[in-house]
């Protein structure tokens, strides 16, 4: 009987996997097409120039380029930031005060209130950019961008609006510089 238990457990595990597998490649619930605020069209046939402007803009935003395949119009970048508004120095000061309150006995609960403010909040922020020629004869370039924080997509349209505004400015400046 005990010899049967292990294969049976394995079988149950595998059965569980099979049940979830078809869901793997489904788009997130309520999401079919890419949202409008994540794409923009640029009136230029020069896809390389647009992608380079994206790369330098991401640099200005503090990102590090992880992947660049210009032939396919792919650019991935990421950065790590502490989401805690306090500077590392201020965080240390908060921790010193918290420790003092903790040692104070009855003041210890106050230390608990303060502790989150003294703890770093690391966030991995990723940017995925794709470009593609569109229109008759490839006269325009479509730019798509997705920002993620700790693997969760950032939905705030204002972030994307600001990115595209800066990209438009960079492309405009570039055209007038050269």
């Amino acid at each position: 009987m005990t010899r049967l238990a292990f294969p049976l457990a394995l079988l149950l595990l595998v059965a569980g996997c099979v049940a979830t597998a078809p869901r793997l490649m489904e788009p997130p619930a309520g999401k079919g097409m890419r949202p409008e605020h994540q794409t923009r069209l640029y009136e230029t046939p020069d896809e390389g120039r647009v992608l380079l402007a994206c790369a330098t803009l991401l640099q200005a935003m503090g990102f590090q380029v992880d992947e660049a395949a210009s032939a396919l119009g792919v650019l991935s970048a990421s950065k790590t930031r502490d989401a805690n508004r306090l500077t590392p120095g201020e965080q240390t000061a908060v921790n010193v005060v918290s420790l003092g309150l903790l040692l104070g006995g009855y003041t210890a609960p106050l230390a608990l209130l303060l502790m989150p403010a003294g703890t770093p909040q690391p966030r991995n922020i990723a940017a995925g950019i794709t470009t593609r020629k569109v229109g008759q004869g490839g006269s325009r370039v479509s730019v798509g961008v997705v920002f993620k924080e700790n693997s969760a997509e950032i939905a705030d349209p204002a972030v994307y609006r600001e990115f595209f505004e800066q990209l438009s400015k960079a492309l405009f400046l570039e055209v007038h510089d050269s």
Binding site: V65, A68, S70, R81, A83, P122
Partner: protein
């Protein structure tokens, strides 16, 4: 017996209230790094070079990063991007044409959870790059 229990209750209640109470940087600022002194940062991270040889400059960037102990993690010659990493630190360098005879090189580095914003770090990088490009120019002649 009652007092320790009450104290425990206060502890639990306060820890629940305080969970997630860390003052957070707004999401747009986290993504866009806005609110920084962008002009000052841009000027310390950027240099112009009087050459049209973009591929040569990219090779010099690769050599300089390796001299500075970085491992090259990504390089795209068409786009003009080189990325490097060493423990606790990452750097991205782009080389773009500026007009017909000049190149603009921008480098930005990250250490731990913060961007590198010390001018000296970039000065050292560009000094090493200038040296490499000067040598390369002489070798090519």
């Amino acid at each position: 017996m009652k007092r320790p229990l009450a104290a425990l209750g206060i502890w639990v209640a306060l820890s629940l209230v305080s969970a997630g109470c860390a003052p957070l940087v707004p999401i747009s600022q986290r993504v866009l790094d806005s609110g920084k002194e962008t002009l000052r940062l841009r000027s310390m991270q950027t240099r112009l070079f009087e050459t049209a040889d973009r591929e040569g400059a990219l090779r010099d960037v690769v050599a300089t990063l390796r001299d500075l102990d970085f491992t090259i993690t990504k390089a795209d010659a068409v786009l003009g991007v080189v990325s490097g990493a060493k423990p606790g630190m990452r750097i991205t360098v782009t080389v773009a044409p500026r007009g017909e005879r000049r190149l603009i090189v921008r480098a930005n580095a990250e250490q731990g959870m913060a961007p590198v914003e010390e001018p000296e770090a970039y000065q050292r990088f560009f000094a090493a790059l200038e040296k490499a490009m000067f040598l390369t120019a002489h070798q090519a002649d």
